[in-house]
């Protein structure tokens, strides 16, 4: 039986990289949103500019489930290279849309799906002479065809096209024409609509569709970042590029002078070096990178920790190790960031769940960096960073001021305040600092990565070294109360089981919890948003017999952090791990947790062991 579903299905576009499909696919996704129906698009793309297969998945979800669902209801198979695999991946009862210009033998199809052929190439060849136009308009033609097949509002798409080409209005008419070509072919030749249909709804509210990397970059603008130093690396490059774009718009002084400085450095070592130099000198500075960049920055991160320099590092995580799968998502840098560098180090990490939170946390990271005088890591990933995500609108409180932390001013020095760069005057582990150039005769100090006493005088004595290392621990303890608190959501009825998760796992987890609940298994949830861990994490674990720790890496990195930092018996933390490079799905989580719960119910571990 063909699948019948209104406003709840998954369309996957299989394309060839570099064929101009990306903007057509995005047009399709935005059209869904404009019809008032929540949408969650995802890129599944190769590390390549032209020629390799690329997929774009659009989850149409009236219920607002924004995580990846898994499975495909309608495959738009535009890539001959992956055709057979694409056909095989369609759900039973699903639909295949393909270019029927060249007849294919029946063996290439399946009996249990509905096959829809539109002779896209033939239409293009008839309509256009220029090969480039044939290629580009083919994409718009299939969007037109899909509109008719899915009963989408063509007016909405026309309006989007008009908005897209606002500044190049000669392009509007030809695009709308191509759109109509596709629609008209379907209405005149094919049965339509199919079982998957769109209906106008009102489920978007005031939400926006934005990429995480753009949101992070805007967070840096709002957070007062003036220096950005970076080195190109997927999937983080578009953070710096977006920062450039936002700054050109919002940070010009009106006389074509810039209130920002962006340097594309020679490597990641130089990027973090510049950030540290700028932070030392009182500018808010950041870099954006991914796992391999973090590896390269290790020595500098140790210096920044020990010399207590504010810095913000955005880590858009991707599958590793080594160059791993540079275009696939993972949450695999937690440990390498939390303990980055040589010697005893611990760093502050933030885990945003979506672009809106990435915006807030990036802005907040600059306050934290200045307050704590240390590197702050904003841990996003490819799934958040390079996909458009539907999320609440970005908000800013105009009364908010930058927290520049403890900076000793010339006036304070003049008034005779005792200045020791590493002196813990407030018992929170955070000393005062002076900025270079503050006072002609007071407050200058020498910053070094080697040990020194509370007044920044060089010393190799054990006592002052240990004293300083203990103070850094006190400072880290202070950070617990400053980083975003975890968000706890209880099942509403008593349960012995809980689940901890973070970052881009959020939407899949939100959906999974319903699936698990429907199996009659209540589960309390805790979304961790920062490291060091708040006391809430200890409490949550104490409140449950077993806690699932859901993450997107092989080695259960958050679980390791929790075990080590919260002194928890690892037996009580059950890892739920997804790490094949695709975004984690609700189905995966529900099945994995469900299976464990079934097993736990048969022989509760504590009883079995006693």
């Amino acid at each position: 039986m063909p699948i019948e579903s209104v406003n709840d299905f998954v369309v996957r576009f299989a394309n060839v990289n570099g064929s101009g499909s990306a903007s057509a696919n995005e047009l399709f996704a935005r059209s869904v949103m404009r019809m008032g129906v929540p949408v969650s698009p995802r890129n599944i793309f190769p590390s390549n500019i032209q020629g390799l297969p690329t997929w774009y998945e659009v989850r149409v979800t009236e219920a607002g489930h924004l995580g990846a669902r898994g499975g495909v209801d309608l495959m738009v198979a535009m890539n001959p290279q992956t055709f057979d695999k694409d056909v095989a991946s369609i759900e039973k009862g699903g639909y295949l849309f393909y270019d029927s210009t060249k007849p294919l033998p029946p063996a290439r199809f399946r009996d249990d799906i509905t096959v829809i052929g539109v002779p896209l190439t033939a239409i293009c060849n008839r309509e256009y002479i220029d090969p480039r136009q044939r290629q580009l308009f083919k994409n718009i033609i299939y969007v037109g065809a899909l509109a008719a097949l899915l009963e989408m509002d063509i007016g909405v798409i026309e309006k989007l096209i008009a908005e897209q080409f606002r500044t190049k209005d000669t392009l509007i008419e030809p695009n709308v024409h191509a759109l109509h070509l596709g629609r008209d072919y379907v209405t005149m030749n094919l049965e339509h609509p199919i079982g998957l249909r769109m209906k106008k709804s009102n489920a978007i509210g005031d939400r926006i569709l934005i990429e995480g990397n753009s949101a992070v970059a805007l967070g840096a603008v709002y957070g007062g970042a003036t220096v950005c130093a970076w080195y190109p690396i997927t999937p983080s490059s578009s953070v710096a590029e977006a920062f450039q774009r936002h700054c050109s718009r919002y940070r010009s002084d009106g006389n074509k002078k810039n209130r920002f400085a962006i340097i594309q450095a020679e490597d990641e070592l130089a990027s973090i070096g510049m950030v540290i130099g700028a932070g030392w000198n009182g500018s808010r500075a950041f870099t954006a990178t991914s796992g391999p960049g973090i590896s390269l920055m290790q020595e500098f991160l140790g210096l920044a920790y020990f010399a207590e320099i504010p810095a913000v590092i955005v880590d858009v995580q991707r599958a590793g190790p080594s160059t791993g799968m540079p275009t696939r998502t993972q949450q695999c840098d937690l440990l390498s960031c939390a303990y980055a560098s040589h010697g005893d180090t611990k760093h502050v990490l933030l885990f945003p769940e979506d672009p809106a939170e990435a915006f807030e946390m990036t802005a907040q990271a600059f306050d934290l960096a200045d307050r704590l005088q240390t590197p702050i890591f904003v841990m996003t990933d490819l799934d958040i960073g390079m996909n458009h995500r539907l999320c609440r609108p970005l908000k800013w409180d105009d009364t908010r001021t930058f927290d520049r932390g403890k900076i000793m001013t010339a006036a304070a020095l003049e008034a005779g305040r005792d200045f020791g760069r590493y002196l813990d005057v407030d018992n929170d582990g955070i000393p005062y600092r002076t900025l270079p150039g503050t006072h002609p005769t007071k407050g200058a100090f020498f910053t070094r990565g080697t040990s020194r006493d509370r007044y920044a005088k060089y010393t190799e004595e054990g006592g002052p070294y240990a004293d300083n290392m203990q103070r850094l621990l006190r400072k880290f303890d202070t950070a617990k109360g400053l980083v975003p608190r975890p968000v706890r959501l209880d099942a509403g009825k008593p349960t012995k089981y809980g689940a901890i998760y973070y970052g881009s796992t959020s939407p899949a987890m939100d959906e999974a919890i319903h699936l698990i609940a429907s199996r009659g298994m209540p589960l309390d949830m805790l979304r961790v948003r920062g490291f060091p861990f708040h006391q809430d994490v200890n409490d949550f674990i104490a409140d449950h017999d077993f806690v699932f720790v859901v993450e997107q890496n092989r080695d259960s990195q958050l679980r390791t952090l929790v075990t080590t930092e919260c002194n928890v018996d690892p037996m009580r933390l059950v890892p739920i791990l997804h790490f094949d490079g695709t975004p984690i799905t609700a189905r995966f989580i529900a099945n994995a947790i469900g299976d464990h719960l079934d097993a736990l119910k048969v022989t509760p571990l504590r009883k079995a062991m006693s």
């Binding site: 962006i262 340097i263 130089a270 130099g277 500018s283 270079p436 150039g437 080697t450």
Partner: protein, 351 residues
């Protein structure tokens, strides 16, 4: 060595500069380097240059990497902020600091290990970006702090103290700096204060990437027969192309040199360099000829010193980036945060 504190008293008749500061106000703590180290002479030259220019010490930021040379910023300008960073990475830290506050003077001190080996990349890129700085390499051809290994500036064929011969070709940082676009390039010798002090002064006033390679013999590991970085060798093979006097824009020119041997070079900020030309054929504005001259003399075993190239109208990184005149670290919420109304418009464009 760490605990030796310099006495604060000094002779009442010590000369004062126009700020009323004495030499002592430009000194740092007592050096912990070996007695006779060339680096200490360079520190003394920096102190002298800053004193003569009457710089406010706190307007200078001293940046360094790791190594003997990188330790020296502790030994001069005690009233300045300093940053002893990571091995070979001073250039990036200095670049960042410079971006944050364009109003300070950035003095980068490095060594041949720090700049020609581990930090060759950062050296090159800071120079090619035109960071407004004085970049001094205290060049002794050897790793002092780790006890005598060859560095990348050691000449091919030169002998280490224990007899090992260097078979690798050497890196000439001066030639590289010129090729990479430094707008002020000089080489000097730690033992030649007369030449070095005016060069440092001119470099400080230069508004662009100024690079100074200072040969600085290592008395512990590289001052023996067979070393091409020893006091004797450098003195014997030094080919000085010019001697200079440096005159700030504030002082009227009263130099009285024989015509034909003196060239007055005016820098962008109005300061002037009076060059006593020792080699008539040398033109400090002709980069191509300078490169040629350098290579030619290097082939003959001569070390060319003096001001080798200067662009009288340089530009710098801040000009390239079109940053505002106000230092970026002095901008606040009003200048930096676009506010909620703008954000609402941004949201609207994403619906």
């Amino acid at each position: 060595m760490t605990y030796i504190v310099k006495p604060k008293f000094h002779h009442p008749a010590l000369p004062k500069n126009s700020l009323g500061y004495t030499h002592r106000d430009y000194e740092g703590s007592v050096s912990t380097l070996c007695a006779g180290c060339g680096h200490d002479s360079i520190s003394a030259a920096i102190i002298e240059a800053c004193f003569e220019l009457a710089l406010e010490p706190h307007r200078v930021a001293k940046m360094s990497g790791i190594g003997c040379s990188s330790k020296t910023p502790t030994y001069f300008l005690g009233q300045s902020h300093g940053f002893n960073s990571v091995h070979g990475r001073m250039p990036s830290v200095l670049t960042g600091a410079n971006l944050a506050n364009r109003d300070l003077i950035y003095l980068g001190v490095s060594g041949d290990g720090d700049s020609a080996s581990i930090g060759l990349g950062q050296f090159a890129h800071a120079i090619r970006r035109g960071v407004n700085m004085v970049y001094i390499v205290e060049n002794n051809g050897v790793y002092g702090l780790t006890k005598g290994q060859f560095s990348a500036t050691a000449d091919r064929g030169s002998k280490a103290k224990r007899g090992a011969v260097n078979n690798d070709s050497s890196i000439d940082l001066v030639a590289m700096a010129m090729q990479l676009g430094a707008t002020f390039v000089a080489r000097s010798f730690s033992g030649d204060k007369e030449q070095l002090v005016p060069i440092i002064k001119a470099a400080i006033e230069h508004k662009g990437a100024a690079f100074i390679d200072v040969l600085s013999p290592c008395v512990a590991f590289n001052n023996h027969l067979g070393s091409t970085k020893s006091f004797d060798f450098v003195r014997m093979h030094n080919e000085a192309v010019n001697r200079l006097d440096f005159i700030t824009g504030r002082t009227p020119i009263t130099v009285d040199y024989e015509p034909g041997t003196v060239e007055i070079v005016e820098q962008h900020d109005g300061s002037k360099i009076a060059l006593r030309k020792l080699n008539a054929e040398y033109n400090i504005h002709d980069k191509l000829a300078a490169m040629n001259f350098l290579l030619h003399h290097a082939a003959e075993g001569q070390i060319v010193t003096g001001l080798l190239y200067v662009d009288s109208d340089p530009d710098d990184l801040h000009q390239h980036l079109a940053t505002v005149e106000t230092p970026l670290n002095a901008l606040g919420e009003k200048e930096l945060c676009p506010g909620s109304a703008t954000l609402e418009k941004f949201n609207a464009s994403l619906r």
